[in-house]
């Protein structure tokens, strides 16, 4: 049955801080689009949205979510970027047996040591990003790597993933620098990377750190001196900020790109009408996951967390966002990922025409296999 005759979705994301552009207010638009496209109601029960700024603070978020689920009968919480927030929220959802669909976070720990039976990690995580980019670059001859790593848990895990992949593919990591988070001026790190003479300079960081590193790299002519830049976590918004001029030639892995096919273009146009910008993979993921969620309720006629989650796990996902998508027992939604390269100014027809997709990385290759999982829900 559908609890108190409404399906209530709480949208929690950073609306005003460093992660705003990933999900933020536009993420809510995506959510609204999903509900509208679904018909505004499920099983004749209407669908409501509540939303809040997570302030990137786990305790603010957790008091918000507690009230949502304990007093306001919220059935599902969507969005969530900062890993501290996602983890905190998932714990609360577990206590109250509600569902969470995390679309913004990168940390693979969310479905590993921190996995719960009450959340799904939908769009991407660091594992396939490192995996996809690194293996591809090594295969194309980038044997020796030099890493610029953001010096905190996220960076560290990204770095170790890269090391593994690079070595697995017969390359080697000749050096790594752990730079403070955040860093504005990368010149001295870039300089050291150049001095190392490695084929590839890998950026194991995110957001402003990455864009700053790339800007500086191009200023110091890293690519001219024959080194390749590999960004391990780069979003469309970042590339857009850098511009094709600066970012051209960078290889990256993404879960989705707006200009892949008719479906994606059609949806993105509608999104752009609403928001004025092109969607990131997170936006698309929020849309897709919400549709999947509602479908599951439609099918089971219940909005109970476990029922819905089970249903979602049993249904393969093939939609505008995900190909060969499947939600695993650990809550990880695995799907095809794509290796992309940033276009040159010549190739790029407009400010958002930024990627060319080099190849597809099949779902099963990309995400961390359950065999390596530390998740309590996985029995191995």
């Amino acid at each position: 049955a559908i609890s108190n005759d409404t399906v209530k979705i709480g949208y929690l994301a950073d609306m005003s801080g460093t992660y705003r552009d990933l999900a933020g207010p536009n993420g809510q638009s995506a959510l609204e689009m999903a509900i509208a496209d679904f018909g505004g109601s499920v099983k004749g029960k209407n669908i409501e949205i509540v939303s809040a700024d997570d302030r990137n603070s786990p305790d603010t978020s957790s008091s918000t979510v507690r009230r949502w689920v304990e007093n306001e009968n919220v059935d599902m919480v969507a969005g969530m970027v900062a890993s501290s927030v996602s983890i905190a929220v998932s714990k609360i959802l577990e206590e109250n047996d509600k569902l969470g669909i995390i679309s913004g976070s990168a940390a693979s720990s969310i479905t590993n040591e921190h996995c719960t039976p009450n959340h799904i990690h939908y769009v991407y995580d660091t594992y396939p990003l490192a995996n996809g980019t690194a293996s591809a670059v090594v295969k194309e001859g980038g044997k020796s790597w030099y890493l610029l790593t953001a010096d905190y848990a996220f960076g560290h895990s990204l770095e170790s993933d890269v090391r593994r992949v690079v070595e697995a593919n017969g390359g080697e990591v000749v050096g790594a620098i752990r730079h403070p988070f955040p860093t504005q001026d990368f010149s001295s790190f870039v300089l050291q990377a150049q001095a190392s003479g490695a084929d590839v300079v890998g950026l194991a960081n995110a957001g402003a750190d990455t864009t700053n590193a790339i800007t500086t790299a191009s200023e110091f002519g890293v690519t001219q001196s024959g080194q390749t830049l590999a960004a391990l976590l780069l979003f469309l918004t970042d590339v857009h900020a850098l511009g094709a001029q600066t970012a051209q030639g960078i290889q990256l892995t993404t879960g989705w790109y707006w200009d892949m096919n008719e479906e994606t273009r059609e949806w993105s146009d509608r999104f752009m009408e609403k928001t004025g910008v092109r969607p990131t993979m997170v936006h698309a993921g929020i849309y897709s996951s919400t549709i999947q969620y509602l479908k599951a309720i439609e099918a089971t006629g219940s909005d109970d967390a476990q029922t819905v989650r089970k249903q979602m796990m049993d249904t393969p996902i093939n939609d505008m966002f995900a190909k060969n998508g499947k939600i695993r027992v650990d809550g990880r939604m695995v799907h095809d990922m794509y290796l992309a390269e940033v276009k040159t100014p010549a190739e790029s027809k407009n400010e958002w025409d930024l990627y060319k997709i080099l190849r597809t990385i099949p779902a099963e290759e990309s995400y961390r296999p359950l065999s390596e999982s530390k998740c309590k829900l996985v029995n191995n």
Binding site: S16, G17, T18, Y19, R20, D21, G24, D151, I177, R178, H179, P180, P182, T183, Q184, D185, S187, S188, F189, L191, Q192, Q194, A195, G207, A208, T211, N212, T215, T216, E219, F220, G221, S225, F235, T237, D238, H240, A241, L242, G243, Q245, T246
Partner: protein, 295 residues
């Protein structure tokens, strides 16, 4: 090739140069702070925001009106400076003579407002600003590749720093300013229009920050939050130099740039902590900073 602590000399000299470049940059930012604190006893927590504004204005003027870098180099500080005067006139003036802490809180509030509004307008992922053509590329110094633009940054920053220092420490105007901040009422009693002087000084201080912002636009990603992290570091620099010591701010700025640069080579993770370490150590032995006058 000779090595120092396992670091090739070439790399080291490169790092030193980079250090000096960033130092010049710090110098410029901390100079503005020092001027504002030293002369107005205002702890300007909006300084980071003003630096950010300088960069933002540069980009926006380019996108909207195609204003080029050189024009921006004058326009942006001018606009931000004017904005500063407005803030001084309508806000800071009302708490003149109150405890430092109030100016700190007020400007901190102002910074939150500016930053928050810009985030809502332009997002956080940053605006694009192309390197002006004449600065594209660079020269190979043998031990490193030196982008022309960085060279320009040193020259520009140091020139402005020296000019400011000279005016404040060596001219009558400077004397008025210094005295006016101690007892503005009495200065007025001598026939000097102190309120005007103060507004202009604050405007000038933040204009310096904006100038640094313009210099930053082509090399750092320009976002509404770019100032907030820089702020605290620059503060540390000013304190180490001795709050309000103009020359101190400049020298310390460069010094810290170098120290930070070396840390980035020998133990990168500490490179953002090192400045605070230095600060604690310095203040232990020189209670009012390296160049600060004993209270």
């Amino acid at each position: 090739m000779s090595m120092i602590f396992g670091v090739p000399l070439a790399v080291l000299s490169g790092q030193l140069l980079i250090g000096i470049i960033n130092g010049a940059f710090y110098a410029l930012l901390s100079l503005g702070l020092a001027v504002i604190f030293g002369l107005l006893k205002i702890i300007n927590f909006a300084h980071g925001a003003m630096y950010m504004l300088g960069a933002m204005v540069t980009v926006l003027m380019f996108n909207a009106l195609g204003v080029n870098y050189w024009v921006a180099l004058f326009m942006a500080p001018l606009l931000v400076g004017a904005f500063g005067v407005v803030i001084e006139y309508f806000l800071l003036r009302r708490i003149a003579g109150q405890d430092h802490i109030y100016s700190l809180l007020l400007t901190f509030g102002v910074a939150l407002i500016i930053q928050g509004v810009l985030i809502n307008w332009f997002g956080v992922s940053g605006l694009r600003y192309a390197m002006p053509d004449m600065f594209k590329g660079g020269i190979n110094l043998g031990f490193m590749f030196m982008p022309y633009y960085r060279a320009w940054v040193i020259v520009a920053a140091l020139l402005v720093c020296f000019g400011t220092w000279f005016v404040i420490e060596k001219t009558k105007l400077g004397a008025y300013l210094r005295a006016g901040t101690e007892d503005s009422q009495l200065m007025q009693g001598f026939g000097i229009n102190v309120p005007l002087l103060i507004s202009l000084t604050y405007g000038f201080g933040v204009a310096l920050a904006a100038f640094a912002g313009v210099l930053a636009a082509p090399i750092y990603s320009v976002t509404p939050v770019m100032g907030s992290t820089t702020l605290i570091v620059v503060f540390a620099v000013v304190v180490i130099g001795g709050m309000g010591s103009i020359g101190g701010a400049i020298i310390t700025g460069i010094l810290m740039g170098v120290i930070e640069g070396l840390t980035k080579t020998f133990y990168p993770p500490a490179s953002s902590a090192v400045i605070f370490l230095v600060m604690v150590l310095v203040l232990m032995f020189r209670p009012s900073g390296l160049f600060g006058k004993e209270a």
